[in-house]
């Protein structure tokens, strides 16, 4: 287990029984998780916004083909949600933290937002040296598209950038590159 505090941890979504309103926000396969909760029955009302991400639409949800439209909906509607509302996010990591940023903007505390990671665990990674962002990184060591340095992916995560940090992996002895491992499949 990583000791890095900023590394996000995820848990299967569990319905918060005291919540006055459940707000589900999903993308791609994330809808399957929420479908189970909704099918099992909820004591309080709910809203469900789903970004299809190129996949099928979900019958029980308001579907968004464009992600930007979903963010607009969140920015408009979350500030009006009653106290005691709970936000549930399911999707890939970038999706979760982009959505979490909107919840935070509406004043939701961390406690008021649950997250479950579904789909690929590939990371968005930022080079600490030239700030180039890389999508879908699956290996612990890779070569930066921006500055060409060999980078080691860290567990330090920025919720603001929705990216992990990577730093030069051969800083001590130049040219000594550890073997990349595919850890983030």
């Amino acid at each position: 287990m990583s000791t890095i505090k900023s590394r996000p941890t995820y848990a299967p979504l569990v319905v918060q029984p005291m919540s006055s309103l459940h707000v589900f926000v999903t993308s791609g396969e994330g809808s399957e998780v929420v479908q189970k909760l909704v099918t099992a029955g909820l004591a309080s009302p709910y809203v469900w916004w789903h970004f299809t991400d190129g996949g099928a639409q979900v019958e029980a949800a308001v579907n968004f083909i464009e992600q930007g439209k979903l963010w607009e909906m969140m920015e408009r509607r979350l500030p009006e949600c009653p106290a005691g509302s709970h936000v549930y996010l399911a999707g890939n990591e970038q999706f979760i933290w982009s959505a979490a940023l909107r919840a935070r903007g509406a004043g939701f505390s961390r406690e008021g937002v649950s997250t479950e990671l579904t789909g690929s665990k590939a990371r968005r990674v930022m080079c600490a040296h030239c700030r180039t962002l890389h999508e879908s990184i699956k290996h612990t060591v890779f070569r930066c598209d921006g500055c060409g340095l060999w980078l080691g992916v860290r567990d330090h995560y920025s919720r603001l950038m929705q990216a992990y940090l990577a730093g030069r992996v051969d800083a001590e002895v130049h040219g000594e590159i550890p073997k990349p491992e595919e850890l983030y499949a």
């Binding site: 919540s19 006055s20 979350l78 009006e80 949600c81 509406a106 004043g107 505390s109 008021g112």
Partner: protein, 319 residues
Amino acid sequence: MKLHLVETAMQGPRVKTFRFQPVEGSGPLPAYSPGSALRIHLPVGEKGLWNSYSLTSNPWVDDAYSIAVRREDESSSKGGSIYLHDRAKPGDVFEVEPPVNRFALSRLAAKHVLIAGGIGITPFLSYLPVIAGRGQSVEVHYSYRGGDNSAFTDWLYHFVNRYCRVNVYDTTVNHRMNLSLILGLQSAGAHVYVCGPASLIEAVRQTARDLGWPASQVHYEHFSQADERPRRPFAVMLQNSGREVQVSDSESLLEALEREGVPVTHSCRIGGCGSCEIAVSAGQVEHRDHCLSEEDRKAGCSMIACVSRAMNGQLVLKL
């Protein structure tokens, strides 16, 4: 540090404000954030008293520390507020500790809901100018017992505009807050802050729980120990050194340990902050704090040294 009392003023029959400035040559006052409290040493009794008071001044513009003190009845007070009201006069010098904040404003709140009972209005006096300066929305709900005790209402009304609502309640005419309504009508980004009697704090916390508020959006500060139970003497055994320390009925465990030279970290001294939590290995604790959870109390493995005592005269501490 040492401060001069420079000015006092009555705010109604029982509340007096005190304004302090640094003694000459001691440099500017340390800055503080809204909600901070000042610990001040008062020459009452043999050893004196350290009392904590919320700062009421505007954190960003004032070059002085202001506090507001309600004069407590002789029967229910250790004498601190009576000393300040009856004896303290401009020119007196007091020993104080730099302000600490255990009741901070949330930076991320979409709206602030401030609930005060009586003199519990004081921390909000430093909140309001800051909230107004940030342009954030705020609601103030202030209840008091009779118009004589309605200190600062005129000052509060100055802040009223489309972002700031002020509601006052006089409980002597049975005009009371409807907490379910106040909390129930808020949106999800609101934070509630409550300061006042323990019963009000408990009612707000319970209502918020029932409405599904996350605990991190509910902030509270107790302003007094407010425990009517008699303080009985007891003995503690310090497990590591084998020493025994007697705690008399006129002192707290924390004071007794300090007297014996046993260092214990501490802050508020009214059982609110949890800094002086001590592990207990044997004996039953009479919990009087506001910070341990029900689970902690049931487990019985720790106590808050500044207020809690022994149930049956004897405790063994992991010290």
